[in-house]
Symmetry: C2
Subunit: 285 residues, 2 copies
């Protein structure tokens, strides 16, 4: 039976370390600042942004939750993004997705100062990740959190065959880049992929971010694989489950993340960590 990758415990450790760094900065008179931009009334977005705001405050981070009506104009948002760019008390800015359709998300994202792009989605930072440049830059928080888990559980990446299922900007693509930068041999599968099982059967590390409930079952997984489940689905009985059929995969895998309690807690912990990173980087030039 696979070892359970305990995201809750690792996230707690990350948060503890973040809180200590915040304290050290406070001794220098510096308070990291996070600005979260929320447009409209999407219930899930409201929950996520409130969680971020609450966690930031708990860790001693100055948190600004900036909310806008559904019909906010592009130029008004741009104005506020520029205001946050110029605000010395703000070190990280993020725009909560999804945005209403009348807004140009790419243009808003590009308007964020790359040095304050706490989600790591700005093309400049994405380019730094793919070019694997030798300077500091933020990266998308979910794959960052997964890398922390893999490191914590001492998963060997160098020379490993990794399969990332899904190619979103949030998870799949930056995940593939981080694994490749760690010298893994990475395949990215997508909804057009033929014969997915041929690929999953070869993967030493399987990252599933397909958004398809129980896409991966035990007979698809290589014996001894490390399985990371980024999916999150609510069943009829209200319990949560992932893209991986845990019950059939756990007996085959060497390590596996549960849902909930695996990847989930790492995302917000990584966001907080990265807010402090950006703060330190900006003060160290």
């Amino acid at each position: 039976m696979a070892t359970l990758i305990d995201g809750r415990t690792v996230a707690k450790e990350v948060n503890k370390n973040t809180a200590e760094r915040v304290k050290r900065l406070a001794n220098e008179g510096i308070v990291p600042g996070l600005a979260v931009i929320l447009v409209g009334d999407d219930p899930a977005s409201k929950i996520y942004t409130r969680m971020k705001d609450k966690k930031a405050k708990k860790l001693g981070i100055h948190s600004v939750l900036s909310t806008y009506p559904e019909d906010i104009r592009q130029d008004e948002l741009l104005h506020d993004i520029r205001r946050f760019n110029a605000d010395e008390n703000i070190n990280g800015i993020l725009i909560q997705e999804p945005l209403p359709k009348h807004l140009d998300g790419d243009k808003l994202l590009n308007a964020i100062d790359p040095g304050k792009d706490v989600d790591g989605f700005h093309p400049f930072n994405v380019g730094c990740l793919y070019n694997n440049v030798n300077v500091n830059y933020p990266v998308s928080c979910t794959p960052r959190g997964i890398m922390t888990l893999l490191k914590h559980y001492r998963v060997k990446l160098d020379g490993a065959r990794a399969l990332v299922i899904g190619r979103s900007i949030l998870v799949g693509k930056p995940m593939a880049a981080l694994l490749e930068n760690a010298n893994a041999t990475v395949t990215v599968a997508n909804s057009h992929t033929q014969n997915l099982t041929e690929l999953t059967k070869q993967a030493d590390i399987l990252i599933v971010a397909a958004g398809v409930k129980h896409l991966i079952t035990g007979e698809m997984v290589k014996q001894g694989a490390v399985v990371i489940d980024v999916g999150m689905h609510r069943l009829a009985d209200k319990t949560l489950t992932g893209d991986v059929d845990f019950d059939s995969v756990a007996p085959v895998a060497k390590m596996i993340t549960p849902v909930p309690g695996g990847v989930g807690p790492m995302t917000i912990a990584s966001l907080m960590e990265q807010t402090v990173d950006l703060t330190e980087w900006s003060h160290n030039g």
Copy 2:
């Protein structure tokens, strides 16, 4: 026996089209301008930059070959890059690699206006490629040229298994991104990859940019694969050869690029094409 992918003929077509576009721009009083920055006396770099300069002029592009001594200072180069950024007569700027070690190539690259980054190496443009954004941006010219070849020979990319061997910023990484954006399932192999043959045997499209002479032999290739050879090595008898052992692979492949005459001619043709793209994009806002 495999169909020969004839890069020379396709490059000629591309150049013909580029020359026509240059003529159309001339009717509007616009001359595309290319600035090539060459530092030091590397013989290969001298040849490449002269080829670019000559081809640009032949196509009616305003070409500036800006040469600097080996010991040029970083700030002097930065100054000239900024001058080219501001110069309305220059639409594309490229820095010929390799640079002397005392120079910070990343900083020089980042100083280029992304809208004039004709090599497509600037992190912002790389990020646009990976984020697959729905606006115009330049991409690295060798993978761009390979995409032109694949399109010309009507190679099906959607759902195909592609293997890219090599993960350079020039070829491997942008190649993988372009194929992924075309809905292929892409694996990137590198020098740490275990059991390369397992991967090559599964590849419908095999792009070899490893820099290792005859790394790929016939028994490694899937029957009916499309094989693209980005390598270039000079044998003792002065003839050129690639990363692919042509003689053993050609009988197995469906299509194959020769070396020379395959990928090589496409790179400069794509550079010229992209110079005109940047010119048009800048004039169309």
